[in-house]
Symmetry: C2
Subunit: 246 residues, 2 copies
DNA sequence: CGGCTGATTGATCCCGGTCAAATGAGGTGG
DNA sequence: CCACCTCATTTGACCGGGATCAATCAGCCG
């Protein structure tokens, strides 16, 4: 993790924004400058943002995993998305008054917080930066739509497989996939809350995926043995991630 | 529907943007000016945008209903959102290359299309307009997240009730609710595709809602007899719509 | 009148939930 | 080093919400 104030092309935030929309050199420098000023750390299992909190900061995630979720009055919980290194939480969120969901870490994380003035200063410095953050927001909607399809119209096996394919691609673009394996710090309870299933059924679905030789999941590390085959069973098409910058 | 070039505060787009973020008089005038230039019409059941189309225009919906949806290879369809009068489709979408989902009308619609240059000219004229459209985008993510909860963690009765509560609020803000009734041009097949249920089960769920006296749905018109009670059964909290401008 | 789309009903089935218990893997303190 | 606790995974038995299949019915239109 590079956090000095020299220019880095290899840091996940820059990698991701570059995949969404090409950053200029000046834009890259501006982002690295901002990140070099201050970063924050949090441990695993901490609630960084709670529903009802004031919505006043944009957060840039540099390492570790987090998730967004909501809980219903009776305790049912739905994870609505994961937050991976290089991803930005809610550009322009300060235009709203309060947060309508919560954010919690799954692992220790390093991130940066920008208040309205800092964020607006950053995006006003370079058009490509402003455009890249707008793309981040558009991509977030697009991912959220795909999750609706996953939850509404795919069965358990397809859902779990789809989630894995998506995480694979999102991690790959920031360089966190090693061949066909990546760190996967998600408990079966978390997977259940992300896919709208019960933990018991997630467990059985994982066994099915293992039995068919598609994946190995052990010691918080996920290996996808045949990505094409997994995409087929999931009916996964990566277009909606908009990470190709055609 | 007022579409002359005088300033109207009462047209749905202005009403909605004002609810998301207060528009200045200059901003209101700029929007009315743009709308006065050209509007388009389409009939019911037309596909306005198809997955794979070039993403080059921002669309402002002025009247009628449409929906966004995706279909899986084997024909399963999921409606990921409805589009109501006053709602804007994808500010800044031209930053992407292609559409990852389709948009079809449910009724005849009137809308306006802005290419990149026109849209950027509009938002550069007035800060409040730029901010309001950014709020529209943020609200779209927020709604999409709530749909994930609906699909993942609510049962059939709650899902259908929740959808009705949401549409009630979204229509109310643009003045399309008359007391406790509104036009509801959604077939049971559409409702099924929006809630991730089968048409048969939607039909039975509607009967349950009718039997409990919560709603009347007849001749494409929905009446909510006890909105509070419907909110309770749906566990509906309107915060996520961000239409209050506190 | 026939054809079409949408709403309704009945019968049956199954995917995935629920409940309950067992197993395993750290982590900690005596 | 072991007893104990907690948290995650796994397994088995049973149940039920909602899907599927297949008619029927109702309104509308050419």
């Amino acid at each position: 993790m590079l956090l000095g104030n020299e220019i880095s092309q290899d840091q996940p935030l820059v990698r991701r924004l570059n995949a969404l929309r090409r950053l200029s050199d000046a834009g890259t420098a501006a982002i690295n400058q901002v990140l070099s000023e201050k970063t924050l750390k949090a441990g695993a299992g901490e609630e960084l943002v709670s529903e009802g909190d004031r919505a006043d900061r944009v957060r840039l995630f540099l390492s570790g995993w987090a998730c967004r979720y909501k809980v219903l009055e009776d305790g049912r919980r739905q994870i609505v998305n994961f937050i991976l290194p290089g991803e930005t939480c809610d550009p322009h969120i300060y235009l709203f008054s309060t947060m309508d969901h919560s954010i919690a870490t799954l692992t220790p994380v390093i991130y940066s917080e920008l208040e309205r003035a800092s964020f607006e200063r950053l995006v006003s410095m370079d058009t490509s930066v402003a455009e890249a953050f707008n793309c981040e927001t558009l991509a977030a909607i697009s991912v959220q739509r795909e999750w609706a399809i996953n939850l509404g119209r795919r069965d358990a096996l397809e859902r779990v497989a789809h989630m894995m394919c998506e995480l694979f691609e999102r991690l790959r673009v920031v360089g966190l996939v090693d061949r066909n394996s990546f760190a996967f710090p998600v408990t079966q309870t978390d997977m259940a809350d992300a896919t709208g299933l019960s933990t018991v059924h997630v467990n059985r679905t994982l066994q099915e995926l293992r039995a068919s030789g598609l994946i190995t999941l052990k010691d918080r590390s996920l290996t996808i043995h045949d990505f094409q085959a997994l995409c087929t069973t999931a009916m996964f098409n990566p277009n909606y991630l908009h990470l190709d910058r055609k």
